[in-house]
Symmetry: C2
Subunit: 453 residues, 2 copies
């Protein structure tokens, strides 16, 4: 081995020749350049074993004292994990390694040096409080556990786009700085918009509805913002929402789409991420059959047998739902209109799934929530497409319809019937991968206590 | 033809059997259900011709007076364009139509009625001021011209993801609510974040840099927010930024990636949107050769021949650039370090493209801008990965480094060398499709004057 050792951070013309997954026994005796960071180090006195990790995996580097300059050997011995290296070396066979090869270095360039060990190990599943991890999130995300989670998240994102593209939905982007609240005034973040007050969008609701006029079937994957004052393991102040909206269909069609979408996602993860699932020790829920569907009224009637204080019109606690449904996907449909936002259509008698509307107070809506155990993943509905009805509903919910003039005016040009849903990406990741905390389903979580990093 | 006419907005069980593109001469004599909105209407006295548009195209509906009830015929005659219909009818041959078929209705259901004609025609390219159009944006987006533009935009978005996925970049989402400004304090939108002040992110810069530690190659397609006080045809307050960042490479590699990305996009549009390009009367720029590259210093030297007041260190006006380069892609590289943000790496002598750094005042940077004529589409650079150097540069630019502590602390764990770029989606659409105004490259534009719809 040569004596060359360079301790600078400039790459010059040095580039990787192979990713870790591109080197196998067929490369034995070849010279390669591998680049990455040290995920672990074993010191056997006269031999150092370094695991060099790139974005796909690891290769083992074997540094032998007698074949290395003393200076370089000492430098490498003292080098902390997480430091970045570029290694030019020869591939040799190593039967005990899973890749069946290792690298004998000829030249090592140290690209970046770690000054101290992080307060957690790359191999640890959760050895430490989440706030300590989040304060060093970029390093935390190097942990094997989160690497598996985020590889699966990437499959989820790609399979969602795949589904929508195959089903003729067009991807749109709607504005995140808006003039009025969609769902009422609570939980909004106010902005200074030049000389005016504005808000961050809680949902793309009204925009995606409008866009069905021009594009018929639309979807968006984008951040939403909720000034959620509670400290829970299932709420984020900034989350990624998967929104779909389609003209000329109703909520039953969109339940079908949502069910097929979830099935597509689960199938894709099973086929692409078998290795990650195995490492996480997770088996995804079986989604081959139809998701159970129960109306809100049926559910309340059933619950009243054991919970005599529950009344029609009440919210149902996650705990009660989890006790009944445990870890499965199911729909709760036909919610009381009074429990849903102003843009949700009430059930027209004859169009009801299992019962029909009775009177104003007991009016049902063409709506559904997709649940996973006690966790609400998605809400959807048929939307009102009649301007007068929409204004009437705004008034019922205590909203000032003149503030929505910019939205209502397009209804004069024939808003088609339409329906849609919003699905929380982080909640879906949390449900599928059994995460303890929703914060681990996103890169840099935001909540009432955390604005950095 | 039956006498059935229903004037309500409830779909019941009525659903489309065929999209317009699914009906051809092979369907002659079949009964179909087509659904959409009336894009134009011709009244020949005893015959009405309706063009029914769905998200893929149009079918012609022929309503004959003698085969229709008088009531229905009168209703249809008075029905305004943009109204939505569901038509059950029989496919008949029509040699003069491009689809070679038309539909004879048996039953017509009016799903939504337009109350008045919009102030522009669906067929018009730009008959009216942009503000009138934007006030009714959902209807404006029904115009053929914008339909072509947004179909191509969809191809662009999909081909960008295709490129990044094929090149092993992982899609990430970084927070849009942040504690400190990346590029200095100007042009930021302040937010009330619970009880604190925060800002909307102008770019995912620091986050995407950090994420190279965990994922090596990352990209993000997401909104950015700039409180841009000027009124121009090329600035938006909210835009979609395409951001890429990669460890173990420098700015030259990222220029290669950006050039290949643009080439991939142009090739995809040419193969997928030939029809839209023809209708727009546009030929995309030829991108088969390498994009010209000129250093900032060379460019200034060349310009000084005709513009004696231009000095090294000056910005170059879009007009001057457009005169020299007209409608082509080119790179301006190796900008003065003083003209670039604090995180941009200065050129190490020997690593320069065509000249090396001289002294502090004349220091060059490993940076590039991708231009199209006079329009800046993208900026990229090698980033500083050394903590002390970064703090020093923050001070030089007048930034308080303690405000960036949440970012700087990860540098203690060996930030790898890395480089990246940000590309403005709307500017790319504007350049490729020769749009007069960047507002037509986005669904709902935001600027100093406009916060709705």
């Amino acid at each position: 081995m040569d004596d060359k050792i360079v301790l600078e951070d400039d790459l010059g013309n040095l580039r990787r020749s192979h990713y870790s997954f591109e080197i196998s026994r067929k490369n034995v005796n070849e010279e390669v350049v591998v680049v990455g960071w040290i995920s672990s180090k074993r010191d056997h006195g006269n031999v150092l074993f370094l695991q060099l990790r790139d974005q796909f995996g690891e290769v083992q580097i074997v540094v032998k004292k007698k074949e290395t300059s003393l200076q370089l050997f000492k430098t490498l011995r003292n080098l902390k994990e997480h430091s970045s290296l570029a290694i030019t070396g020869v591939v040799v066979e190593q039967k005990n390694s899973s890749s069946q090869i290792e690298i004998l270095p000829k030249e090592i360039k140290i690209l970046s040096i770690s000054n101290k060990p992080p307060p957690f190990l790359t191999q640890a599943i959760s050895s430490i409080g989440i706030d300590t991890r989040l304060d060093l999130r970029a390093i935390d995300l190097r942990r094997n556990y989160l690497q598996f989670v985020f590889k699966i998240r990437n499959t989820i994102i790609n399979s969602i786009r795949e589904y929508f593209n195959e089903n003729y939905f067009i991807e749109v982007n709607t504005p995140k700085m808006i003039a009025t609240a969609t769902e009422g005034g609570a939980a909004l973040f106010p902005i200074f918009y030049y000389d005016r007050e504005a808000f961050l969008a809680q949902s793309p609701q009204l925009y995606k509805e409008q866009l069905t006029m021009a594009f018929e079937s639309v979807f968006e994957i984008a951040p939403i913002f909720r000034a959620e004052p509670s400290r829970t393991n299932r709420h984020l102040s900034e989350a990624i929402s998967i929104d779909a909206e389609k003209a000329y269909v109703d909520y039953r069609d969109m339940m079908e789409h949502l069910e097929k979408l979830i099935r597509h996602i689960v199938n894709r993860i099973n086929s692409k991420n078998a290795n990650e699932l195995e490492n996480l020790g997770i088996k995804l829920p079986n989604v081959s059959g139809s998701f159970p569907r129960i109306t809100y009224t049926e559910l309340i009637n059933n619950l009243q047998a054991n919970h005599k204080f529950i009344r029609w019109g009440d919210d149902i606690s996650p705990k009660i739902l989890k006790d009944i449904f445990s870890d499965e996907f199911f729909f709760i449909t036909d919610w009381p209109a009074s429990m849903k936002p102003f843009y949700v259509k009430s059930i027209t008698p004859g169009n009801a799934q299992k019962e029909s509307a009775i009177d104003e107070k007991n009016l049902l809506s063409e709506s559904f929530d997709l649940m996973f155990g006690g966790l609400e993943l998605s809400s959807g509905s048929t939307r009102i497409n009649n301007k007068d009805l929409l204004i009437e509903n705004m008034k019922k919910k205590g909203l000032n319809s003149t503030a929505f003039d910019y939205h209502l005016r397009v209804f004069d040009y024939a808003m088609p019937p339409h329906a849609g849903f919003g699905l929380g990406l982080e909640r879906l990741v949390m449900a599928l991968l059994k995460l303890e905390n929703i914060r681990d389903a996103t890169f840099y979580p935001r909540d009432i206590d955390r604005l950095t990093p």
